[in-house]
């Protein structure tokens, strides 16, 4: 027998868990401290948003919510690599990239607070972004479709879509990679490998050594990065976007992190998480290492940290207030966006809903 094809999967990490650069060949972002501070702030903002969202759920002011604690570098990193005109097709735990691409935090809260208006993104940057996809992996195909439209129109725009590592077991994910490869679509698939699909770990999810290598069967490029290393996530995203924008086609980026919280507010991870995993995980989480790196470069101080924290607490609180002060939508809103024009047959039901609602 002869070998007719060989494949390899590269791994990238710049910042180790102690916030030290692993080698001298760091990308330009390693010296762009203004950008790094912006990314650090992005992570802090999402962590605060998740904390408040949890509190809202626990006090009965919001429904089920999926926090992203410990994996903030992924969504913040690739979200920051997107241009305004790019399109985001998020997964359900996608608040970090969504907020980075202009979705308002109060909209995230409205969505999980059971209000459709949470997906009517008001920021111009996010107007074409997809709402959260709850059925797992369907978003990968929507992203391919958006990318196909951009390609057909000759636009220099890119689609980013995120998926959990568990989601990559779905047929839709494979179908999306396959078609993105064939059509050379401008789309970046981010695999957020937080090592848990609710209670199911990787060894039950796949026989692959990496999730990134699923791209190989579709004939598209892939890379695995340390998803807790902001430099690696941001740089890989930037490179993939640049390649896609210039006709180079799709990329799969697997970002390895660890979910340091429950799956959602409705979950109790202590039922399945091995002892000691959380303690070890907190030593490798993304915020501390970026802060250490900034401090080691004399770019960050306790005063700056305190000032930033005060600012984001106020910012998140304002979003919470806006969410809580949004009155429940009218009963007729159930009908008003069903079709461009409500069918004759349904008009009477709309009237009925209004009459019942008035009582």
């Amino acid at each position: 027998m002869t070998t007719i094809a060989k494949f390899e999967v590269k791994y990238q990490q710049y910042l180790d868990a102690d916030g030290k650069l692993k080698n001298k060949k760091a990308p330009a972002i390693a010296k762009d401290f203004d950008k790094l501070k912006e990314l650090y702030r992005g992570m802090a903002l999402i962590r605060q948003l998740d904390t408040k969202a949890y509190a809202l759920q626990r006090t009965g002011k919001m429904g089920t919510y999926p926090a992203a604690t410990g994996q903030e570098a992924i969504g913040v990193g690739f979200g920051a690599a997107m241009k305004d005109e790019d399109v985001l097709v998020p997964y359900y735990r996608g608040q970090a990239s969504m907020v980075m691409h202009g979705v308002r935090m109060e909209e995230v809260l409205l969505y999980w607070g059971g209000d459709e208006r949470g997906s009517d993104f008001q920021n111009e940057k996010a107007r074409q972004d997809f709402p959260i996809a709850v059925p797992i992996a369907t978003q990968s195909l929507h992203a391919a479709g958006v990318a196909k439209a951009m390609q057909m129109r000759g636009e220099k725009r890119v689609v980013f879509t995120e998926i959990g590592e568990g989601g990559t077991s779905q047929g839709d994910f494979y179908e999306a990679l396959n078609v993105a490869g064939i059509w050379n679509l401008p789309v970046v698939f981010i695999i957020n490998n937080n090592q848990w699909a609710i209670s199911v770990p990787s060894e039950i999810q796949t026989a692959c050594e990496t999730y990134a290598q699923k791209a190989i069967a579709a004939g598209i490029d892939c890379v695995q990065v340390d998803g807790n290393d902001m430099l690696a996530v941001y740089q890989a995203s930037l490179d993939a976007a640049e390649k896609a924008r210039n006709g180079g086609g799709p990329t799969v980026i697997e970002c390895i992190s660890l979910r340091l919280c429950d799956h959602t507010t409705a979950d109790d991870a202590s039922r399945y998480r091995p002892d000691g995993e959380l303690e070890e995980g907190w030593k490798k989480e993304p915020m501390v290492r970026l802060r250490k790196y900034l401090e080691a470069n004399k770019q960050w101080s306790q005063e700056e940290e305190d000032a930033m924290q005060a600012e984001i607490v106020a910012e998140v609180q304002q979003s919470v207030d806006n969410y809580l002060n949004t009155p429940v939508d009218t009963p007729e809103s159930m009908f008003d966006y069903l079709y461009a024009e409500l069918p004759e047959r349904t008009l009477a039901q709309r009237e009925l809903a209004i009459a019942r609602g008035a009582k």
Binding site: P135, L141, H142, A144, G145, A176, L338, A340
Partner: protein
């Protein structure tokens, strides 16, 4: 002006609209060089290029999912599912996303797209090729489900489907793809969606049907006329959203209703029509509502296919029973 079949009318409508609207893209399995397994897209790739008439990989969920992405960017995809029996991998996209997008984004993202699929029995096809499952999609708010019964309606309704701002499931009764020809002028005139057609006026009973079964229903009306029974015939055409007013108006006039469908009887479009008549016109009825339908069984393999399908004589028999009811 030429006399063309139902499938040629679908083709003509697509070609007409693609000429006018550059955002329309046709894609699916074998739709390009091959022109579709039934030839619905015959010649379109030669005319509009492989950029707009795209052969996709063999994956139905992908076809529907990609259509959603493209439509969200303002394109107008016409996705072909080769047989309706293969639509179910795509159903997650159609039901969980396509139908819901306008509502869940409060009108921010809308999906002007058409999903075409040949459906129904009667062509001696293999397993999973012959079912009539229109009720599954008719049940879903946010979708429109349209079924043409003849070439003229296929042309006019397909034009309307492509111009509609919301997703349309366009089901083509493949048994009657080539059963008759109509003279059709390619003038771009559409038939409105959500409207029944009264194909024959009558005074004694209303026969209500759609798709391929319209042919048996019209023949039944003819036979009934020979026996002195005047049947009004309604082609529902858009099974969702239903134009119930036209049906009620007719039933109020005739006092009798018989619904004819190829699909199984239970939980079907015909059940919904019967319930609406019972709710809104029962005091006008001179006899209980009747239904002629497929059985509540699997669609059999083709050796028993004829045994499953409702026939002209079944409709005549049921109509007479209703008319003679005392």
């Amino acid at each position: 002006m030429a006399a063309i079949t139902l499938i040629e009318a679908v083709n003509l409508a697509m070609a007409h609209e693609m000429e006018k609207d550059k955002d329309i893209v046709v894609f699916g399995e074998d739709v390009g060089v091959n022109g579709g397994v039934f030839r619905a897209t015959d010649g379109l790739q030669a005319k509009f290029g492989a950029e707009r008439v795209i052969d996709t990989p063999l994956a139905e969920a992908m076809i529907a999912g990609v259509a959603i992405g493209m439509a969200a960017q303002g394109m107008k995809p016409i996705a072909e599912i080769q047989f309706m029996g293969f639509i179910f991998p795509a159903a997650d996209h159609i039901i969980s996303h396509c139908a819901r997008m306008r509502n869940r984004t409060r009108g921010r993202l809308t999906l002007p797209m058409v999903i075409r699929a040949p459906y129904g029995g009667g062509i001696h096809a293999p397993e999973n090729h012959s079912e009539s499952t229109e009720a599954i999609f008719a049940h879903i708010p946010g979708l429109k489900v349209v079924i043409p019964s003849n070439p003229s309606r296929a042309y006019g309704l397909m034009l309307a489907a492509m111009r509609d701002p919301d997703p349309v499931i366009f089901l083509e009764p493949k048994r009657v793809y080539r059963i008759e020809k109509h003279e059709i002028e390619d003038n771009g005139e559409e038939y409105p969606l959500g409207m029944c057609f009264v194909d024959r006026e009558g005074t004694d009973i209303t026969l209500i049907s759609w798709g391929a079964m319209m042919h048996e229903t019209k023949q039944a009306a003819e036979k009934l006329a020979q026996e002195g029974i005047s049947a009004e015939v309604i082609d529902v055409a858009t099974v969702s959203p239903l134009d119930i007013d036209t049906i009620l108006e007719s039933v109020q006039k005739t006092g009798r209703a018989c619904i004819v469908q190829e699909a199984p009887k239970a939980g079907a479009v015909g059940s919904d029509i019967a319930a609406e008549i019972a709710e809104k016109a029962i005091m006008h009825l001179l006899a209980p509502i009747g239904r002629v339908s497929g059985y509540d069984t699997m669609m059999p393999y083709y050796r028993l296919e004829k045994q499953y399908m409702p026939k002209v004589e079944h409709i005549v028999e049921e109509a007479k029973r209703i008319v003679e009811y005392r």
